[in-house]
Symmetry: C2
Subunit: 438 residues, 2 copies
């Protein structure tokens, strides 16, 4: 498996009364069994396409051709979309851009998931519209934010290169049928790629929604799917499916929420490339489970900065949380702290312990120390560990959490795939817009 | 006041049984009164310097001189530090950089708050070390992450410009006394600025810790302090101090936590420039209150993206949260959705409601719709609204939340200014490092 999954720190055997007893875990796992039957059935009959995506390669050639066109013509590629149309792509793109731009020769992807006029004004000053591409993603084809973004960007794009350039540098992704986005795209004969209606936004990262931006950034989309496939296969073919990591993770999470009041679940990765992963996970977990009064609140933390921000609360605040520390192998990597500097006699030995250690040594020590400290303080803590952070590991972690979420929904008795509550706000926003117009 | 503060959506009069009754609010406010006495005393005797910082201007000349030196010599300025040494500066810097770089002519500030070797390798490829400056911030002068960052960056800096260049482009901030960082700085005769020992990291944004990076980015540091001062004065001079916004905010938060089980507090800003503000607030609130089993969990959300990620959970999940929607005036600003495009007859009227509206109209409608939808669903919701987002408003909001946090700590009976629980993890990390060395 591409990751290690260790739930011992969530169990009473390790952390005492604040952990889950074996009997409680077993009872919750039993409730998970029907979910694993569902997964088998949905996989075999194709009714849940996200389970078929890991094995697909047939669509990647066309996607790479589109991506190569954008790569060649663009210095910036704006990815317009919000929620599930954005977070998966951002998570993969974080493999190449740590916040200060991608490597030379790679287009700078800018994910625009808000409708902030100030940001768009800054963007206007920052990009060359003659070398800027757009990927506009809306599953329904009517998302107000995304269509507003797109429609306000059409004039500068046309001004810089005419309608022909628009056609060469804009790609739309939406469902088949007479969707507004598709109908708009037809006006300029823009290429439109199909969003599978059966792949919900928060489960779409393995589809073109996540993989087209990844390919533009030069990432290996097949490796993302291969990593996801490894986890899916291991889950579907486990001799006792309840022993699979996603089922165990779901049972621990829901068990701790029900039996120990852990209404918050903190995901704490340690490397910067996994920083966005926490935001992607946050939507997946919250929107899939948060209904009928159920669900737990996902919190995205980040080592090492949150040791200096949130750890005090985590260790000494209310016992209402579980933690997932997402470690990656780091010892021995990175630059060495120069021994002559850290060991300078003028420092009186204060920094001797850093002399000759690498930056990765420190990261490694800190992630282990945080997990161990949480466990010593009887705070329920799961450890997930990867040897490297790349396309395959990200694909594996994403499939893990998609399966864990689906299993958790079944244990809770909610529909993992809908989001009925958000409609009211959309209707109200439209009403307020209408009032401004009148 | 530079912001509007409306707690009606948290009260039983508006949202029924899930809100706080007037009598409960009054009882909690009564417990806040001693905190307001404390603030008066600490302000008058100078024992809490953060309350004196808003009125200070005498230190800004020296800071601007240092900032101007860095601005002139550097294309990139790396800000090394973590937790309170980083989040305030990042929050202010977000006024000029929305994630794709600052305006032309302004140095690109890169805040490094992790010890991730991969990020530092990417940095090495991205910057010209002959045009890169460093601000290294550690209050104690011994923060392992910050000193490791700094010590591993010394060799490339020296390689690019010799020790003389180091002296011209590196500034250290630490407490007076024989601190390791200060002693190291003396080796190369680097400028060292004093971190006030009585200003804790999470309360340091109005000191040089937050303002030096802001000045390097060309921001108006005096305006930050002036905005903070307006809120401080209004609180100290309120006819009934318990009616001041920070006291009301603290009483509502703690009241809802105690009486209605709202163990999570969600801060939901809508403009990108306030995105980092949520991370700064998160440390302030969590680390100040999270002790002795007390504290509530701060969650940083972001409109509009979290409407498509977290709102389902917020509206239909467990009733364990309160919300602060941080609005800013946006109607009428930004580009207009071209009427000929949105009103294209081919779209069958689907987008007519967007035609002629500005992007800011949509943002405005969405932030109001989200707040109103939360309230209609009887979810306790406070609204804070600003007319603009600039240095003065940020200073005002920061002072509001610092005061609210200090008052909340007094109601809970915890010390707002310590963080005793994090020591254990530091000791353990050092032990693991020692084991690697042996």
């Amino acid at each position: 498996m591409p990751y290690r999954h260790d739930i011992d720190g969530c169990l009473a055997g390790t952390i005492g009364e604040h952990g889950l007893a074996e009997s409680e875990l077993d009872a919750t796992l039993a409730a998970a069994a029907p979910a694993l039957d569902d997964l088998h059935r949905w996989h075999d009959d194709g009714s849940l396409p996200v389970l078929r995506l890991p094995a697909r390669r047939d669509d990647l050639g066309e996607l790479e051709a589109v991506a190569a066109g954008l790569r060649g013509r663009c210095d910036h590629v704006l990815v317009l979309g919000t929620g599930g149309s954005s977070l998966g792509g951002q998570t993969l793109y974080a493999l190449v851009d740590r916040g200060f731009g991608p490597p030379a020769g790679t287009p700078h992807l800018v994910f625009l998931d808000n409708v902030d006029p100030d940001t768009f004004a800054a963007l206007d000053a920052a990009v060359d519209w003659g070398r800027t591409g757009v990927i506009v993603i809306s599953k329904s084809g009517t998302t107000a934010e995304t269509l507003t973004q797109f429609l306000t960007l059409v004039p500068p794009l046309i001004a810089a290169g005419g309608e022909a350039a628009l056609k060469e540098r804009v790609v739309a992704i939406t469902e088949p049928g007479p969707r507004a986005l598709r109908q708009m795209a037809e006006r300029w004969a823009l290429p439109v790629l199909d969003h599978d209606p059966l792949v919900g936004g928060r489960f779409s990262v393995l589809s073109l929604v996540g993989l087209l931006p990844a390919l533009v950034a030069g990432l290996d989309a097949a490796a993302v799917r291969a990593g996801a496939g490894e986890v899916l296969d291991a889950t579907l073919h486990a001799s006792d499916p309840c022993d699979s990591a996603p089922a165990l993770g779901a049972a621990v999470s829901i068990g701790l929420a029900r039996q120990r009041g852990a209404g918050t679940t903190v995901l704490l990765p340690y490397v910067d490339r996994l920083g966005f992963f926490g935001l992607w996970y946050r939507q997946l977990w919250a929107e899939s489970l948060g209904k009928d009064g159920h669900g737990t609140t996902p919190v995205r933390a980040m080592g090492t900065v949150d040791q200096h921000s949130q750890l005090q609360l985590y260790l000494a605040g209310p016992r209402d949380k579980m933690f997932t520390v997402l470690m990656s192998a780091a010892a021995g990597t990175g630059d060495t702290v120069p021994p002559d500097l850290a060991g300078d006699p003028a420092l009186g030995g204060k920094l001797d312990y850093l002399a000759g250690r690498t930056m990765g040594d420190l990261l490694d020590a800190e992630q282990r120390a945080t997990a161990d400290t949480l466990i010593r303080n009887q705070r329920p803590t799961r450890v997930m560990a990867v040897e490297r952070v790349d396309e395959a590991t990200l694909g594996a972690l994403m499939m893990h959490f998609m399966l864990e979420t689906i299993v958790a929904a079944r244990i809770l008795g909610v529909d993992a795939f809908d989001q009925p509550a958000v409609e009211e706000g959309k209707v109200l926003a439209r009403q307020y817009l209408d009032e401004m117009a009148s």
